[in-house]
């Protein structure tokens, strides 16, 4: 798969820009603050329906404009698909696939498959568990779009259950009775049902990632240290979960909810479930978080993205790879090894401030970014 064209209207700093892209490596060079990242961010938005930099849509729209439009032509198996997204903060976003509008935004997922590595990804190693859950769930949705629905259902049930616990908590603190918890059993049933589906998806995904992450880390770090990852559940004694069937997981979750009922009522929130789980990253014998150096953390984050890329690639549809501002952070050896790893990809988008940072193997089509324009220079 590759992106043949990208057109932005009122997106970030661009009033209007259109770029024709080529297969293989495409390098965007420009000084800081010229809008290199904005280009890959726009494509990332098409792939995941979210920005990798900000949680809300407002910053994506050029100051003074009402809405931003991202139009892109994606080629897969020699067939071209047009995707158009219109982003309007405070309103529902709209999308078109081909020439026809889509009723559910979710249907756009999968039209462009992209793996994006950016400086923000350092948070995968150093940040909160929520970053790692997002990594897993985004990849899950890319592979099987139905998980977007499972995740949405789970979140809705969780919200309702939390509201119930919260009301009872406040009623009790106000000196009254415990409040009405008679429907808690019902929410347990539904939380366990959707939670088990999500869990089964994540566990399968982690199992598939383990060897790929180890391989990718080994490659970027030239054999210095071995990267291991495991899923840690918030609701088992030692955090481990055996890969069980969905039915079994549902039962286990329901038991865990029963067991923590008293403390949940006490604290007024849901303490058990995939929304509190984590992905434990270790380097050798020590956890990566807190122990790994800056360079090691960086390599680990990169390994996680490369593993995601490998996984999607092995399943048939080759995703587009985007490396945002990566090379400046790596030493010469790591740069060369990274370039080698991705040299046979169908399309790699690279952004950098200094072109000399990019290894020769990745110097394909070259674009200059500056003053709100993108110019092809070779």
């Amino acid at each position: 798969m590759y992106v043949r064209q990208l057109e932005l209207v009122d997106f970030r700093n661009y009033p209007r820009v259109a770029v024709d892209l080529e297969q293989g490596p495409c390098v965007f060079v420009g000084r800081n603050g010229q809008g290199k990242t904005n280009l890959v961010e726009a494509l990332g938005y098409v792939a995941t329906l979210g920005s990798h930099r900000v949680a809300t849509d407002a910053p994506l729209v050029r100051v003074g404009a009402q809405r931003a439009v991202v139009r892109t032509a994606v080629v897969q198996d020699a067939r071209e698909l047009l995707i158009e997204l219109s982003i309007e903060p405070g309103k529902a976003n709209k999308a078109r696939l081909g020439r026809s509008p889509v009723t559910r935004m979710r249907d756009v997922l999968g039209a462009l498959r992209m793996v994006l590595f950016a400086p923000e990804d350092l948070a995968l190693v150093r940040g909160d568990p929520s970053e790692r859950r997002r990594y897993l769930d985004e990849l899950l949705t890319l592979r099987q779009p139905r998980f977007a629905g499972v995740r949405a259902d789970y979140d809705r049930v969780l919200k309702q259950r939390n509201a119930l616990l919260r009301t009872s908590y406040l009623a009790k603190r106000g000196g009254g009775s415990r409040g009405d918890l008679s429907t808690l059993d019902v929410w347990d049933v539904h939380l366990a049902k959707y939670g088990a589906e999500l869990l089964a998806g994540r566990l399968e995904l982690v199992a598939a990632l383990v060897p790929l992450v180890a391989k990718a880390y080994d490659a970027v770090s030239a054999g210095r240290g071995s990267a291991q990852l495991s899923y840690s559940a918030s609701w088992t004694d030692d955090g481990s979960v055996a890969p069980l069937s969905v039915q079994n997981l549902e039962e286990r979750l329901r038991e865990a909810l029963q067991a923590s009922r008293a403390s949940e009522v006490e604290r007024g929130t849901t303490l058990v479930g995939p929304h509190r789980d984590d992905l434990t990253l270790t380097l050798g014998d020590v956890p990566a978080k807190g122990y790994a150096s800056h360079g090691e953390s960086w390599s680990y984050a990169l390994a996680l993205r490369l593993a995601a890329y490998d996984l999607l690639r092995s399943e048939g549809i080759e995703p587009v790879l985007a490396l945002d501002d990566v090379f400046a952070e790596l030493d010469a050896g790591r740069r060369e090894r990274l370039a080698e790893l991705v040299s046979d990809s169908s399309q790699t988008l690279v952004t950098c401030a200094v072109e000399a940072d990019v290894p020769a193997a990745l110097r394909g089509t070259r674009y200059e970014v500056g003053n709100g324009e993108v110019r092809r220079v070779g």
Partner: protein, 197 residues
Amino acid sequence: MYEGAIQDLIDELGRLPGVGPKSAQRIAFHVLSADAVDVKRLASALQRVKDLVKFCTSCYNVAESEQCRICRDPRRTNEVLCVVEEPKDVVAIERTGEFRGRYHVLGGAINPLEGVGPDNLKVRELMTRLSSGEVKELILATDPNTEGEATATYLALLVKPMGLHVTRLASGLPVGGDLEYADEITLGRAFEGRRAV
């Protein structure tokens, strides 16, 4: 901002569901320019709906007398009871002409975010109705969303000891639709609920 009565009317209209400030303004000026007779008729319709319409004492559907039209109908069976969220769901099911039993309108669904629990719904009334033992099958026809499903599960657990035949409306593919256009969740449910032919 307008003065006096016209702004009052715009404000009142703006409180109605689905009516934004622009629509409220348009309706208000339409009323202003309409015939006095038409406006009187609208005003009295609004009055009468509050004065005359009551809730049926057995099923809690809207009615003009003690009991609604459906509960009064002697040709319908008491053995099948269909539980719905709103009176408009009754109308929807009646349009199919397939159902010959009675209804029970809950008046909503369990929704902790909105502060709606079983006590705010006609659940106790439902249990009283079921205790007579006349009902053989209970159909749970709440909406197929998070809140409707939770309400259905809640009722199913609640009536379990009574040994009733409890059913849930099937969810799946729309008639006349294309498989390829169905979303994964609907298609997944349709697979779950497939039947032998």
